[in-house]
Structure formats: C-alpha cells, structure tokens
Point group: C2
Chain length 228, copies 2
DNA sequence: ACTTGATTCAAACAAACGTTTGAACTAGAG
DNA sequence: CTCTAGTTCAAACGTTTGTTTGAATCAAGT
C-alpha cells in the first residue's frame, strides 16, 4: 500500500484545492489529509508548484482529449459541411460537466478544481493551463468560424470567450450562485440540467445577430454625448 | 497629508488585490506600497479581514446603488408594463463596466477587483459580498420574472446566474481571455465594445425558448442509456 | 507651557509557511 | 547475511505571515 503515496497526495491535494482554493491550501494540510509525511511532497513532486501542475494535468488532459475526440467525431460525421452550432458547443462543454459524474475521475470535486483554476489570478495555474488549452483552442476556433461564418472575427472572438467564461463560472461551484439566489428552487445544481441550460444559453447567445455592436455602441455614445 | 493614511491604505490595497489577488497580497506589501507603517492597518481597520471588507465596500456599494437607481428609473418610465429585457440587462451590467471609466472610482483596477472577488473561494470575500448583493438580487429577480414571464422559475434562475457569471468572468480580467485566444484582434479589450458584446450575448441567451431543457435532457439520457 | 487624545513608528511576537537534511526503514539482488 | 537503491520519517531550516506592544510624535485645547 506504500506505493500509493503519490496518488494519495494527488487525491488529497485535489480535494483541498477544490474546496479552499490553491493559495489557501498548505502542504501540511495536504500531507495531513493524505496521511503521509510532509517531505513526501517534495520527494515525489519536487516542489509545491510541481504538485499543482500534476494535480491539474491529471484531470485537464483527459478532459481536453475528450473534447478533441468529440470534435473529430463531429467533423468526420458532417464531412465538409459545417458542424451544427449546438453540437459544437456540446463538444466543448459536455466533457467538462460529464466527467463530474465519473467517480474515478474525481467526481464533483474535479469540476470545482477546473473551475477554480480558470478563475485564478495569473501564476503557476495560468502557465500550466495555457499549454493544455492551446491545442483545444486551435482546433475549435476554425470549427466555430466555419459554423458561424456570418460573424465578424471579432464578434466570434468575444462569444467564444463568453462560452469559456460561462463554463468556468458554472464549474467554479455553486457557491457564487447561492450568493445571489437565496431561494433554492430544486435542490443542489444537477449536472445534467446545468449542462442542458448552459448549452441552450450559449447556443442562443452565439446565434445572436451580428453587427449589433455598432448599434449598441452608437446608443451608448449618444447617451454619453461623446462624438465619433 | 497625514490624515490620508486610511485612504492611502485603501488605494494601495485595492491596487494590489486587483493585480495579485487577495490571498497573494500581504499586509507588508500593502503598507509598503502605501508608504505607511505596517501597524497602521491594524490601527485603522482592526484586522486584515476588515481591510478587505472596507476595500470591497468602497466600490461595491456605489455600484449596486447605481444598479438599483437604474432599475427604479426604468420601472418609473415603463409604469406597470414590463421593462424590456435589454434595458433590464443593461441596468444590471452597465454600472459595473462603466465605473471602470471613472478614474475617481479606481478606473480599470476597480473592475478587476470586483471580478476577482466574485470568483474567489468561500471566505471573507463571500460573506462580505452576500450582504451587498442581496438587495440587488431581490429587486432584479421579480423584474426579470415579469419581463420573461413565459419562463419557468427554474430556467429564469439559471439564466440570471449565467448573466452574473458572465459579468464576473468578463470583469475578472483579460488574463483568462488571452489564455485561450493567442491572436489579438483589436488591441486590449475596450470597455464599451465589451459591454455591447456582453449585453447582446446575454440578451440572446435569456431570450432562448423555454422548455428546451426537457428535450436536451432526454437526448442526454438516451445517449447515456439511463431510463427515466 | 502643559496636558490630552489621536496617530505613527520601530521592534518584536508567535504561528505557519515551503523546503532541506540525515538518519531510519523497506524492499529485492547478489 | 550484505549490499544497494528507493522511500519514509522526525526534526529543523530560514522566511514570511498577521498581530501586538510601548515608546515617540503630532495637533490641538485650555
């Protein structure tokens, strides 16, 4: 059972990172929860930063592989035609939310971990994630551009970011949600309904007519009285 | 000039909190930047937690007052009729983004501070913000419910959360955005275009047809093979 | 000028942090 | 058994953290 030290540390670190955040979790809290010696972290991972990278990589890599796999399947299925928007969104969003049902991948904790890492200030977490997300971003960008071919590049840019931001926010946890909604309508946020609601919202948002920017900007400038 | 100690601390703390995050900013970094003695923080505010609360309150209160003011103006203008969705969204979103132009309110830093505080793990920040946002939430909820009267309560619940989440994400900073988009299309994110893009996206998302949930959930269950 | 109350200051406090160390322990190979 | 490489362990390292202390300084009241 002693060869499980590394995984014990990873599990405990993941749970605590997801619950309290990265900065607020000390190595002592991790090793204490994992019931291993304090020095084991530096022995197996080298440093606290390397531990964080390992914890993230263990979850992010399968998730992003699944995203790319789904996209490949879609593109193979639709051939040269554009992939329907809803399928594209689902390919990007679903792997994140569905892995939260898989207990072998960390279950509900995993989703909080990813969400938290996306809303973390610049630092180790950022540098670590950038590398992982670049491949996904580079594959999804042209796919979205093809499907939403009527959109100017800049508007597509914003909307893809909104999709990512919405997903990150949803994953970051129900904490912030309950900050606003005092009334609980149907128990804790169910992953399946959350996914459905998110996909519909994003689908509608990305389908918004293009060029609305100029109109609203003009309205704002008219209100502010600033000339062109 | 010595009576400006409190405000010097608030300004320095706000800048550092916005830049590095709450956990990563020490009292010594703050007092050093503010060029005041270390003990001044505990003398004027009592503790580090109280400092955080003071920094947040200074910015959040005017913002939320402006939100409520805008909503009141709208409701007075439209009388018993429902306020148009776009106006409702703008009343909630615009005060956050527009205060970032006002240099007397902290300028661009302010927006990062608020966004960061919304994506912070549970703790002082949460307990502090909950009180401030409850009043806003209680006023906007029925307004949205009236405008989107065709929506089931649960769907409205989700979509309002998406709006908040999207705003928080947008405010949290352009850092995360550049994590995904390697290509910069039009320089740094301009507040005005960001506002316009956000309003359009949210407007479309909230206008999405209701009841789509059941359809997509059914599709997901069919795919997963789990019976009703 | 003297007193008073508010503020600033340098110094120290205990606690917690990430990391390092060197010895103890646990295997399997010769 | 002996040797060796891998791993665990208690203890300590030097920093840095938030907070406290007591004397020094300041501004004003009488």
């Amino acid at each position: 059972m002693k060869r499980g030290t590394k995984e014990s540390i990873l599990d405990a670190a993941e749970a605590l990172f997801a619950e309290r955040g990265f900065d607020a979790t000390s190595l002592r809290a991790i090793t204490s929860a994992a019931r291993v010696n304090l020095a084991a972290v530096n022995y197996h991972f080298g440093s606290r930063e390397a531990l964080i990278e390992a914890v993230l990589a263990r979850r992010v890599e399968p998730m992003n592989e699944q995203r790319l796999q789904r996209l490949s399947d879609l593109q193979a299925h639709y051939g040269t035609a554009a992939v329907p928007l809803r399928e594209l969104i689902r390919a990007f969003v679903a792997p994140a939310l569905e892995l939260s049902h898989d207990r072998s991948h960390g279950g509900q904790r995993f989703i909080r971990l990813i969400g938290r890492s996306l809303s973390e200030p610049a630092g180790v977490v950022h540098d670590c994630l950038r590398g992982h997300y670049e491949a996904v971003s580079e594959r999804f960008k042209p796919a979205f551009a093809r499907t939403l071919s009527h959109l100017p590049a800049q508007e597509l840019y914003w909307r893809m970011h909104f999709m990512v931001g919405l997903l990150a926010y949803l994953m970051a946890g129900a904490d912030i949600m309950r900050l606003i909604a005092s009334s609980r309508l149907s128990g804790p946020p169910d992953g399946r309904t959350a996914l459905a609601q998110l996909v519909e919202f994003v689908h509608a948002g990305m389908s918004a007519p293009a060029g609305a920017e100029s109109a609203t900007v003009a309205a704002a400038e008219r209100a502010a009285g600033s000339g062109s």
